[in-house]
Amino acid sequence: MLERLRAPWSDRRAELTLGAVSLLVGVAVVAMIAFVAVQAWPTLRHNGLSFFGSGGDLKEQFETMQNAGPHPPASAYHFRAWPLIWGTLIVTAPAVLLGIVVAVLSSIFIVELAPVRLRRVVIPVVRLLASVPSVIYGLVGILVVVPFVLEHVISDSDKVALQDTVLLNGTGVGVTIVILTIMITPIMIALICEALLAVPNSWREGAIALGCNPVRAMLAVTVRAARPAIVAAAVLATARALGEAIMVSMVGGATNFAPRISDGLTFFLEPFRSVAAAIVDYHEGIGAPALKSALYTLALLLLFSAFVLSVGGYLIKLPMRKYQVRG
């Protein structure tokens, strides 16, 4: 047997072996979707589409599920996830919008404006920001930014105004948006820089020959041609932001409160909880079947949105072939 393995492999055998290993990846993905969906089924069956709705106190629902024991009655599966979904949306959307602006501007800076020496600094800096673990962002957030917000931004009148609904302790929407933006911008910069570099040089030269200044040429021609890449980068960053669990759980406040836009600027100081953070926060109670099913439903929701985003990203990349821009 060992002799056979040691002898030179035939091409056919090699192809089949490598192919079989590759198929493992596909099997893993199918298994992942199947496992999560199967575990999520009880909650989905009991709640139907109103799972995505709002209603009732989320904290109570979590406690009911946790205390329902090994054979929970049907009523224990009652779960309305809207506060979590809302919490995810209100940090993801602003962070991605802010991130697009910052990423496009810094990509222009890196590709066009920065002197060579500075560029040699900025590129490693972007790479470093991309690889800092999320727990470090969370740690800096909760130990530096959150106390700062509590001391200097939140006034006593804010606290008093909301004392019956939620405790303002410095954690919340605003801090999370800022840190999330810092976390997702480097990925976008990487993609956008590559696309800007891939736009044919002659296009920009043409614009400059027509009298545009370098910045206008960049904005009007190069960035315009790279629009599909910008959208693709935004899609990727959205996926990353939606799934960020640890950092959001640390600086988001981890309350089941749904921040209210009607509160004006205080909105940005209100704590919340996102879908991904809820899974981290409640994973210890996963022994209770009702809670387990609810958490897997949240995971299925994340998986589904990641899937939708990656299909969307693929569709958006298609027009890039028309532009003959790689990426």
Binding site: S10, V21, M32, I108, F109, I123, V125, L236
Partner: protein
């Protein structure tokens, strides 16, 4: 190559060379001037933020890190003086890196080889590539709960601890390592694939002309020439593995390294334990333990590891064809 790379050394950009005819920003439209200022502003802001994070972590690290912490086991104690160092988290990180690499290395390299060199039937290769893209887009917390469901299956019980009543916890180093390998898969696959794609076809043709089979070509021509790409991919994968928290917290975290049952090696793999990331998380105000000093010290060690891996990637990355070297950072498939 007609790509636009004005900063490349030695290539003089004709537009930059013609200094005399260039308009100065003072004459530009106000919107262009605003864009110029904003671009400079954000670019410098990025540097300031990164610098602030690194300097702050270094400051706190030097303040709180004691060499003894690196070699002391972690103790369950409320008092700061007795709770020990973080040898256990370091062991956990090392063990998980080893397990994750053991899983991901053959998987990613074989998959990249098959997709690039064989890839028949074509639709199957596309499916495999899309599967990797789906893995890349999956949040780590979803992978964590998937791992929990997978390793709680009765026939997977050999890989984790069992409760008294026979229930399977599904938490162990093996379980976490397997899921972490999925996190490291996309960057390693992408690096290997891009390396293989950039090997000129005449190298393959020369090998075939000498009578080598395809697999022999892979072994003696292709793999040696993509070694630096694989090294860069492995480094990226490792930095993903040591930086992940969600999978650790759900699948393996405990106060200290606990062994399971079985032989000396298997029991360790079946056991649970902390890693640097989960140690930071647990000791921060978000976890149960309020020991920010320990969290800062461990985060500093983690930061040093990440910085070191970053330097390695840029060393390996220099040889690749990537123009900015940024795509390696995003690890975008």
């Amino acid at each position: 190559m007609s790509t636009y790379a004005p900063y490349r050394r030695g290539s003089r950009d004709p537009l930059r060379g013609a200094r005399g005819r260039r308009s100065s920003p003072g004459e530009w439209r106000w919107s262009d001037r605003l864009a110029l200022a904003a671009a400079w502003g954000t670019g410098l802001l990025l540097c300031v933020i990164a610098g602030a994070i690194v300097i702050y972590m270094a400051f706190r690290g030097v303040q709180y890190l004691r060499p003894a912490m690196l070699v002391e086991h972690t103790n369950p104690s409320i008092s700061q003086a007795e709770s020990g160092g973080f040898l256990d988290p370091i062991e956990g990180t090392a063990l998980l890196t080893l397990i994750g690499l053991a899983f991901v290395f053959p998987l990613a390299v074989c998959t990249a080889l098959w997709v690039v060199e064989y890839g028949r039937p074509n639709w199957l290769a596309r499916i495999v590539e899309s599967a990797i893209e789906i893995v890349a887009g999956t949040p780590d917390i979803v992978l964590a709960v998937f791992g929990l469901a997978l390793f709680q299956l009765p026939f997977m019980s050999v890989f984790s601890l069992k409760a008294q009543g026979g229930g399977v916890f599904g938490r162990s180093f093996i379980a976490a390592g397997a899921m972490l390998s999925l996190i490291a898969l996309p960057p390693l696959f992408a690096a290997t694939r891009d390396g293989l794609l950039s090997v000129p076809s005449h190298m393959r043709e020369a090998a075939y002309a000498l009578g080598k089979t395809k697999i022999a070509t892979i072994r003696s021509v292709l793999l040696p020439s993509v070694r630096s790409n694989i090294a860069a991919g492995v480094t990226l994968g490792v930095s993903r593995i040591i930086g992940d928290t969600a999978i650790i917290v759900v699948l393996v975290d405990s106060l200290r390294v606990e062994s399971g049952s079985g032989g000396p090696v298997l029991s360790l793999f079946k056991g649970t334990g902390p890693t640097l990331t989960s140690y930071v998380y647990d000791n921060s105000p978000a976890g149960e333990g309020g020991a920010p000093q320990k969290a800062y010290a461990a985060a500093f060690v983690l930061m040093l590891l990440v910085l070191g891996l970053n330097l390695l990637v840029s060393r390996f990355g220099r040889s690749s064809a990537d123009e900015t070297g940024l795509t390696a950072a995003g690890a975008v498939v």
